[in-house]
Subunit: 484 residues, 2 copies
């Protein structure tokens, strides 16, 4: 489909970027050919590291001319194989890492795609502002990748997804032209919304090189609580009551099942049991406010006190210091990591309407437990957004490979329930390779067709991250993940 | 370009929709051929009123087959000529006016395009929720039109534009297929963002037939203040301080110049002078909170007290009752209407970064006053969003037609300043016909080209609202407005 990559192309790129920024040695390529969980291993002609938007445009134009695919990469922390190359050139955005401007009064920052999320957060904080996007990989993921995948994380309840945090973009198109849409405007109705085409498109429609991000007043106060309750249904009732009482001050409501807390306490170094007894379900709750005189602790105590009296909350603890708050958050943050200590894990990143999130957890748990006795459901995450990481840990003692071979069967069980509840089979991780073919089973065929229309219109020669998100006519089937 | 419309088409539509819903009599068409300010007068073969999404799809499919344009219309309250037909069939969404579902826990409503904005607001309120979009024409504009034009209004500061208030859409495409994207999810990363293609596209890429809207906790308390200050720069400093002190409780910050207040007091029935003295500039400020125990009046008094002591605020009054709050809002709301009492008005709906909004008002005021001595600048509006309705009232005694003939000259003066400040020449009203050709002077040519690519991809035969927003090759120049 693509012309075989030529040494002439590599030479042309090296002549413009400098030989040091066009990497072809196998050992230097290695880290760019796999995704973070080792599910896919690809191959590439070269990794190129342009130092400016103009150099990105040059690389794309040269590759387009040679018919060679371009796979953009940020921090390569994605979880769906979206950044794994199968041939062509890996384009690393890492050298585009400047904060170009920050306007505290307009509450915007203009940042380049290769800035780490942490660097963006820090720049905002230095100006007494908040950039609210927050993820486990924030120290190494890059903002360009966050936008290309419409990243979620723990602040969505109050501040929205990455898509909601961007006002404008600079994008290199499939033919190497640069679209400069770096406006920092709250209102702009001058034609079609172009930026949202590229946000969440995983580099298949254009390569984001810079963005104007929205900043917020920096929270001056936080209050954090960890509570135990009897069920997911109870957690939903508690969430409703907290939102009613606290409005926008409710900035996080994260769900942790009993099994999840148990494995964190067992495996995470320094994790401290938050409540004396055991409960079927737990929630980590955070209030925050930019107003220094808000009485968040008082508000939280009042609401939780009422809920304890009613019996909805079985027990609760409030962080009395920043250190205690961090210790409570640590329990939630370590949950992703410690699952591997219990063997194979079959993972689903799904969302349903918030009103159905408890129904979903209950129904899917029963269905999976019935399908494989001994299987341990680890359903946790962004409950207040309706987004559950519905992960299934293998039965104790089962062969890991034999367990992981059941992945497709559990996809069908879980995703069929999600579909019946009008949900999404990818809430925040994206499609990439891992869900590309799965998507065809659940997405409206007209929507799939519209996606193809857009891909063909914006990348007619299928140069940009080919094979990801959408599969064009005659394209290879998605590689099956080698679920390590 | 389009085949001449045939009686066969009208008969086919009448057979499906019923004769009563296919209107061809001149007198019945009249209201659908003009826009609300009378700037354009078009013509049409018929007005059709489908009663369901399937009937909309049927109409579009039949028109596409006959090569006849379809111009969708909601409440026909737009200000840019976007709903005026130049041939073809006007498709009224008015009969699609059901609230299909409302889920208070998920905080969503599924509504059909023909619901008035007021009906949507009322449905939300009946469920103790808020649908925050709020505009002068809310009693007659329809939610489908609000979404198709990405409407703004007075709640954008806190809740965003119409685009930010929609989670999913149902759309009839140019070939008559129906895309059902009515998901009510806070997170859904299953491929390209399709809904934002149609929001703000003014019916040129598809016809929105229904939407899932976001609802919010209903504010339990409001506090409203009207303040006077020395300049736009002072207003910006005041805005900054209020946002710093009140965070998200600040839900409106509307700017009114001295001339604006004067003409409201002169012409608006029942308008009451809010402050004893005169000031160069005024702001209408609103705080609100979903928390019933928030002390908004106290907060507002404290901040304004401090600002008066510093001399930034020259005078202020707080509404002591809902009736007084309404009286203060009345001064702002009547401002659009009363301008006509002072003769011709040349209007601009522009936005700049918030940090530059005072610079813009000052610079553009000086430039316009210099260009025509005696001209009276009426720059008002959504200051906190950087969105100013920069309207120019004719000099006293000048011939109105002679004044309005200067429209293009003032466009150039005002829009050139907007462009230099990285602003937008259409903040909330859209492009339609009135700014279609103007847009080419100010928009990045790559962006214009991307818009053409999208139009060609989604509506290859140019059936949907042709000639609006983008002008395709060989298309007629935009009709010049007959600026009544």
């Amino acid at each position: 489909m693509h012309a075989s990559p030529t040494a002439g192309l590599v030479d042309a790129l090296a002549a413009r970027l400098g030989r040091a920024h066009v990497v072809t040695a196998e050992t230097d390529l290695a880290g760019h050919l796999v995704e973070s969980r080792g599910l896919y291993r690809g191959h590439a002609l070269a990794v190129v590291r342009p130092g400016s938007t103009e150099e990105v445009a040059f690389v794309v134009a040269e590759c387009a001319r040679a018919g060679v695919p371009v796979v953009p990469q940020g921090g390569n922390t994605g979880l769906v194989g979206g950044g794994v190359p199968y041939g062509g050139v890996v384009l690393s955005l890492a050298r585009l890492n400047r904060i170009r401007a920050l306007d505290p009064i307009n509450a915007t920052a203009v940042v380049e795609a290769g800035c780490t999320l942490k660097a963006v957060q820090d720049a905002a904080e230095a100006a007494d502002r908040l950039f609210p996007l927050s993820l486990a990989s924030e120290g190494s993921c890059q903002i360009g990748g966050n936008l290309a995948t419409n990243a979620g994380g723990t602040s969505v309840l109050r501040y929205g997804n990455a898509r909601d945090l961007v006002l404008g973009l600079e994008v290199v198109l499939a033919d190497g032209r640069i679209w400069n849409g770096l406006k920092g405007l709250r209102k702009d109705n001058t034609g079609y919304d172009l930026k949202d085409l590229f946000v969440g498109a995983e580099g298949t429609l254009g390569i984001i090189t810079a963005a104007v991000l929205k900043l917020y007043p920096r929270p001056k106060l936080r209050a954090t609580a960890f509570l135990g309750c009897a069920s997911a249904q109870a957690a939903l009732a508690i969430f409703e009551r907290l939102r009613e009482a606290c409005g926008d001050q409710l900035t996080a409501f994260e769900y942790i099942p009993r099994f999840g807390l148990e494995i964190v306490l067992k495996h995470a170094h320094g994790a401290v049991r938050p409540l004396a007894g055991d409960h079927a379900a737990y929630a980590l709750v955070e209030l925050s406010s930019p107003q220094a005189d808000a009485d968040l602790m008082g508000a939280l105590e009042t609401v939780l006190g009422g809920l304890i009296e009613e019996g909805l909350v079985e027990d609760a603890t409030l962080g009395a210091s920043e250190a205690q708050n961090r210790a409570l958050w640590y329990l939630r943050e370590m949950l992703s990591e410690v699952q591997r200590n219990e063997g194979g894990s079959i993972k689903h990143d799904v969302a349903v309407p918030v009103s159905r999130v408890a129904d979903f957890i209950e129904e899917a748990t029963l269905a999976c437990e019935a399908a494989m006795p001994g299987l341990r459901v680890c359903a946790f995450g962004h409950f207040g957004d309706g987004n559950i990481h519905f992960n299934l840990t293998q039965p104790v003692g089962m062969d890991k490979a034999a367990y992981l071979a059941e992945w497709e069967r559990f996809n069908r069980i879980v995703h069929d329930i999600v579909a019946r509840l009008d949900g999404s089979i990818s809430a925040e991780h994206g499609i990439g390779l891992i869900k590309r073919d799965e998507l065809r089973l659940y997405k409206d065929p007209v929507a799939i067709d519209l996606m193809h229309t857009l891909k063909r219109a914006l990348d007619p020669h299928n140069i940009l991250n080919p094979g990801k998100v959408v599969a064009l006519e005659g394209e290879m089937p998605a590689a099956l993940p080698g679920r390590g």
